[in-house]
Symmetry: C2
Subunit: 362 residues, 2 copies
């Protein structure tokens, strides 16, 4: 028997008010033919996990009593890295020791163990397997546990919509210092695509610019420069030098920041909105739509990949390869380890209220 | 020799300050092999014609000295209906008496006659030809002279982007009482597509609602209802009854009016912006982009058809057929006739400053 701890909630609300740790037994001798038992290696706290608990996120887990709660409960967490520790007799795709991540969202990743159908997981090479495959390095817990949302968002926004010519074309993004923003600059550079990253002005701006440029951003500008019409000519000069166009814009801020990046697009350009950090709507001058044929669309990795496991697998393979070759740097997390001293829900709560991104390791 | 009068300007500015009437001679004995001489039957004044003169419209005629002005001058007018009065020896597609319209914009339609390459025109059936073809009626001057912009805009927005299922699906539009809005409701009805037209509240609202419903709008609502979230459930009930979805929205207003129509779209819906009467930008809540996958794009008939004469011909044929069958009602114009008493530029100026849409007939 394995004692599993899982973070659940029975009604939506602020995490501190509604999260509970529930413990239940998994009987490994009763594993189904197509099932696997996994132990959790790490799971992150994403903003969408919190919004899900608050009840303000459109994708929701189904209430369930499968963990033995008297009332139906909802599981927390969507991303995570697991190790297979038992396999049912009919499982062919996984072996004990394999690393896996959830195939879909709403699996409930804030828990120590899971007994699930094997189809709910996708295999990632573990460090031993990477070594055996001749790769320079294996994935870290942080890389594996956070691979499904931010790197996939950056890669798919860059590759799934608009054909960009390496060495020539450009994308522009606000939120250039966000996790997705940093992945986008890095992946852009790996693909040969030039980028302009817009960031908030700050005291140590030059330090941040240097850091983002080192990570692959071709140019880093401030929100004030992004909003100023005058700065457009500087940007035009940069683009002219490469003989390409700014064909793509990524917006995770909204308001005049979205207008600013949309204005930089060439005719027929596309702006993808994947976040709204300012809580302001996307604002687009009519003339950009009519006379420059700018299109504004949304990007949600969950929806795009929900019915396209093949695309997910392909994209994951690309990211894994870059990690193994040391070409891609993951967004760092503050790691907190579950050692049984604090209840699991308390550990996640401390991560929710703490500064920066947190990863709970096991 | 034919004495032609043409309205020109030598620098951008307000029409009253810059428009001139220029007269010049066309020698019909010197007509080129592929040329035609046409006399103008009618040409309208569109808002874009005025913006072009002001210099604030992206599509501009090229300055020319071909009419014998000492300084290069720009021609006015983009839509018009002409009758062929002479054809060059090599012209096969047109005969004397044919009705033609410009194939492209910037022909300069505010003039009495034109000598141009025949490729610059598209033939429309004249009333005799309609009769000979067994059609119930022929086109009027107003229908022919205003066919290229508003009816084509309405038809192409309805048919070129999204597959709508007749009898089931819907579109919603603001500016429901505009010329394009009225064509869209009518054409929607002819195609079996349900519509919701948003109009400004007014004293005689019920009268307007009755008029627009008679012209094919399934429902007419006010801007206040469009902006109210509460009204959404009424609209959902209408749509539920037909078993379809609101897949398409047309925006020619901007600001919260654009937000209002975008909010009514079903998941994966498209909003096309073809105007900005409020001078407010398009405003789209981030969540509509990300979680409902709403796309916002622009529509400009000039750009769409610039390199697609086949699509233009097909679309014109459809509109002509509806006019000939009396199934489509044109947007009415105040007609003013050029009889030589006033200078031609003064006639257009009176139309520009007059209330409502004007058509100059010859």
């Amino acid at each position: 028997m394995i004692t599993s701890h899982i973070v659940l909630y029975k009604q939506h609300g602020e995490p501190k008010d509604v999260l509970e740790t529930h413990s239940y037994q998994i009987d490994e001798t009763k594993i189904g033919n197509d099932q696997v038992i996994v132990k959790t290696l790490a799971s992150p706290i994403n903003p969408s996990d919190i919004n899900q608990i608050q009840g303000v996120y459109p994708s929701k887990p189904k209430p369930t009593t499968e963990f033995g709660t008297t009332e139906p409960a909802l599981v927390c967490g969507n991303e995570g890295l697991f190790e297979v520790i038992h396999t049912g007799a009919g499982v062919k795709d996984f072996q004990v020791g394999d690393w896996v991540i959830p195939a879909l969202v709403n699996l409930g990743t804030w828990r120590t163990h899971a007994l699930e159908d094997s189809s709910k997981f996708i295999k990632l090479r573990n460090p031993e397997q990477s070594k055996a495959a001749g790769k320079p390095q294996g994935l870290t817990y942080n890389q594996g546990a956070t691979i499904s949302v931010n790197p996939l968002t950056a890669y798919l926004m860059l590759t799934h919509y608009v054909k960009l010519t390496p060495g020539k074309d450009w994308f522009i993004q606000n939120g250039g210092n966000s996790a997705v923003g940093q992945y986008a600059s890095q992946i852009g550079k790996l693909l040969g695509i030039n980028s302009i990253s817009v960031v908030r002005d700050r005291d140590n701006l030059q330090e941040l610019v240097a850091e983002l440029e080192a990570k692959g951003a071709t140019h880093v500008i401030t929100e004030e420069q992004n909003s100023s019409r005058e700065y457009s000519s500087t940007i035009k000069d940069w683009v002219k030098e490469t003989g390409g166009e700014i064909k793509l814009a990524f917006n995770c801020v909204g308001g005049k920041n979205s207008t600013g990046v949309a204005r930089k697009l060439a005719n027929n350009g596309l702006m993808l909105t994947y976040g709204g950090m300012s809580f302001q709507p996307v604002i687009l001058p009519t003339s950009l739509h009519i006379f420059k044929n700018i299109t504004s669309a949304g990007f949600w990795v969950t929806a795009l990949l929900a019915n396209n496991q093949e695309l997910k697998q392909e994209t994951l393979a690309k990211i894994v390869d870059w990690y193994e070759q040391g070409k891609l740097v993951d967004a760092s997390s503050t790691e907190v380890k579950f050692d049984g001293e604090k209840k699991l829900s308390e550990l996640y709560l401390s991560g929710i209220t703490g500064k920066g991104k947190h990863l709970v390791t096991y």
